[in-house]
């Protein structure tokens, strides 16, 4: 009998804890926006806050992914229109204040949802679930290019890695090569790193950054579509290409 009471007490305490802890966590997490102006393309906690509040008001329909994309942009503009603010698609101070005022019940609402929801963890801490990618490329394309860049030019200066990525992109554009990133990279005998398997080494962050820079419009090679290492080049033909410049160990040519 006594045992039962103890068990009941334990269960009672535990339930109270279970109800209170998520509540108090939310209480402690009360954070409005930081003082920064949020604009399209931004990522991070402010964007999550913005999206959640806009969603709460029914302006935003997409996922709360922490990336200020077009969906968030239109939602924000509609909000600005409805609330008589200048429609600029920027979440500045006025907009944020209006938004916080308009969503007074927002916190309470999520916490009450927490109690009922079967999986409170997903509600209480929205994680950054998406990322910006340059248009026309997926994360996988970028990864594949980073693999190639890493395999071909690790040990080169950063600028030389951007250059190798730029050559891949120039080849995609060029009439003399396949029209896709994968086509260019896996073209037989095009890259030594592909032929000897070094392409499957895990690329480091730097090669990923180099690829992003190249995709975003940096081309240190002046439009080159070939490069070679003059110390190890086996083909005589490559020397006949018009050379543009040298970066690190590689000579880039057209």
């Amino acid at each position: 009998m006594k045992k039962n009471i103890v068990i009941a007490k334990v269960i009672f305490v535990m339930t109270i804890c279970m109800i209170c802890i998520p509540l108090s966590q939310n209480e402690g997490k009360v954070k409005a926006f930081s003082s920064q102006v949020i604009q399209q393309g931004a990522v991070g906690d402010d964007v999550i806050e913005l999206q959640s509040r806009l969603k709460f008001l029914g302006f935003y329909h997409g996922k709360i992914d922490g990336v200020f994309g077009w969906g968030t942009y239109w939602a924000l503009r509609n909000f600005q229109y409805e609330f008589g603010l200048p429609i600029d698609g920027l979440a500045g101070n006025d907009t944020k204040n209006k938004l916080v005022k308009a969503t007074k019940n927002y916190k309470a609402n999520t916490s009450s949802q927490n109690q009922q929801a079967s999986k409170p963890s997903s509600q209480s801490q929205p994680k950054k679930a998406a990322t910006n990618v340059p248009s026309g490329f997926s994360q996988n394309d970028i990864r594949l290019m980073a693999n190639a860049v890493h395999g071909e030019s690790r040990g080169e200066p950063y600028i030389g890695q951007v250059a190798v990525a730029a050559v891949i992109l120039n080849r995609v554009e060029s009439a003399s090569f396949p029209n896709t990133v994968s086509g260019v990279i896996f073209e037989p005998r095009a890259f030594t790193a592909v032929a000897d398997g070094q392409i499957w080494l895990t690329p480091n962050e730097q090669s990923k950054k180099a690829v992003l820079d190249a995709i975003n419009g940096w081309d240190p090679t002046g439009g080159s579509i070939y490069y070679f290492n003059p110390d190890t080049a086996t083909s005589g033909w490559i020397w006949s290409r018009p050379q543009v410049k040298r970066i690190g160990k590689h000579i880039f040519c057209k």
Partner: protein, 449 residues
């Protein structure tokens, strides 16, 4: 006794090794055959497509009405692209085979732009018809040569893997039948020279125009070094190396690498010799956790561009990649956005430093334009938009269309479902020049598995 056991173990070992070796051998062969089959497929596909291509071009010669001509040309376009992709799968990179590939692209470009044109209003001109005839004859020649190679391959059981080996060793004289055959194809194509595709045909390959709008005097190496110093912001305690471009470049430029002696940070940039314009600039360093917002970084970028004399710029796009902000600016003239004049700026979000700058497109296309008044009104062209699209924003802008011409367009931003579209409609003809679905953020996959 021990001898017996030893012999037994050794025998087992030998048998095991033999078995393992045999397994390896079989696996290696299987992989070789597989690779060989891929090459064979690409090659035979290619010859088949060239066959078809020749037929199709032949039939278009006999057609007259738009109804049949446009789809036929679209077919030609599709075939060239497939053939092109198959060429790309063959191990021919180190073999000069570019002319053939360029030839394929040229046919593709030509057929595409004639296919999308309204042939009722603007039928094929005589020169275009002549070039189509020429293309027919030339594709016939290529077809013949390729068929010869194909015949040799089939008859003598030639293997692409041998071609690879022959190309790889490079020392052996290249008397490989396949290689010879492809060299002949290449020779045939180069003898065509430039087919006259008619006056309206501006080859898409001439896209990398040669900075023809640049103005100003040639600068010296020393001046170039000074400009680079200014851009890098490193101060005076620096190592500077200036090199000139190689002979293969269309435009004269200086490459400058500059290193801060104290921090060992490095910056690189290219400057045009004529006028000393910055083509690109890049500074590499580790960037720490973001401290400033994308918006503030954008303001830094704007200030940077203003300080360096760039005028009339609109912020077109801003994107945050981890701790870096990348901004794209385009120029505007009388409230018309000029998309070809694009500049990219990269800003570190930890302290707002400018880490990169690229004005290649801007330098190649920026010039004083005479933008005509649109002949159609906004409401007239709005009817051309898919009625399901909800238009949210609109403006006038200049873009480069599929035919590589600058055209004045009404630009509409609209939504359909969860997606946003950018639609360009020609302000003179009302033709839908371009419809882009704008990129949404991509979910991160890492945590899924």
């Amino acid at each position: 006794m021990i001898r017996g056991i030893l012999i037994g173990v050794l025998a087992l070992g030998v048998a095991g090794t033999a078995f393992w070796g045999y397994q390896e051998h079989r696996e290696k062969n299987a992989i070789l055959i597989n690779a060989e089959n891929n090459y064979q497929r690409a090659f035979h596909d290619l010859t088949y497509q060239i066959d078809l291509l020749n037929d199709k071009i032949g039939t278009t010669l006999a057609m007259n009405s738009r109804k049949s001509l446009s789809p036929a040309l679209a077919d030609v376009w599709k075939l060239t692209s497939e053939a092109h992709s198959n060429v790309g799968q063959l191990p021919l990179t180190l073999l000069p085979f570019n002319k053939t590939e360029e030839f394929l692209s040229k046919i593709g470009d030509f057929s595409y732009r004639t296919a999308v044109r309204d042939l009722d209003k603007e039928p094929l001109s005589d020169t275009e018809y002549d070039s189509l005839k020429k293309l027919y004859q030339q594709s016939g020649d290529i077809q013949q040569e390729l068929r010869k190679v194909q015949h040799a391959v089939l008859n003598n059981n030639l293997r692409w893997m041998d071609v690879e080996l022959a190309l790889a060793s490079d020392k052996a004289p290249l008397d490989n039948t396949i290689i010879d055959g492809f060299k002949t194809v290449e020779k045939t194509v180069s003898s065509y020279g430039d087919t006259d595709f008619g006056p309206t045909f501006v080859s898409m390959q001439n896209k990398e125009s040669s900075y023809k709008y640049l103005q100003g005097k040639e600068i010296t190496k020393k001046e170039a070094a000074n400009i680079a110093k200014k851009y890098s912001g490193f101060g005076n305690n620096v190592d500077i190396h200036v090199t000139e471009n190689g002979k293969g470049s269309d435009v004269g430029f200086y490459s400058i690498s500059i290193q801060d002696k104290k921090t060992k940070q490095e910056a690189n940039m290219d400057l045009t010799k004529k006028g000393g314009y910055p083509i690109w600039f890049m500074r590499s360093r580790d960037v720490k956790e973001p401290k400033i917002s994308l918006n503030e970084a954008g303001n830094q970028a704007i200030k940077f561009l203003k300080d360096n004399g760039f005028k009339n710029l609109d912020l077109f796009e801003s994107v945050q990649y981890d701790n870096m902000g990348v901004f794209t600016f385009v120029t505007h003239e009388d409230n018309v956005r000029i998309y070809p004049d694009a500049i990219n700026v990269k800003v570190a979000l930890d302290n707002g430093n400018i880490l990169g700058f690229s004005a290649e497109e801007y330098l190649q296309s920026n010039h004083t334009r005479n933008i005509p008044k649109p002949t159609k009104t906004k409401d007239e062209v709005r009817k051309e938009i898919n009625p399901k699209v909800k238009v949210m924003d609109e403006r006038l802008s200049v873009i480069v269309n599929d035919l590589n011409q600058e055209v004045l367009c009404y630009e509409f931003l609209g939504t359909l479902g969860d997606d946003t579209y950018r639609i360009f409609i020609n302000a003179d003809t009302g033709v839908e020049e371009k419809v882009e679905k704008l990129k949404n953020a991509e979910p991160i996959y890492e945590n899924v598995v």
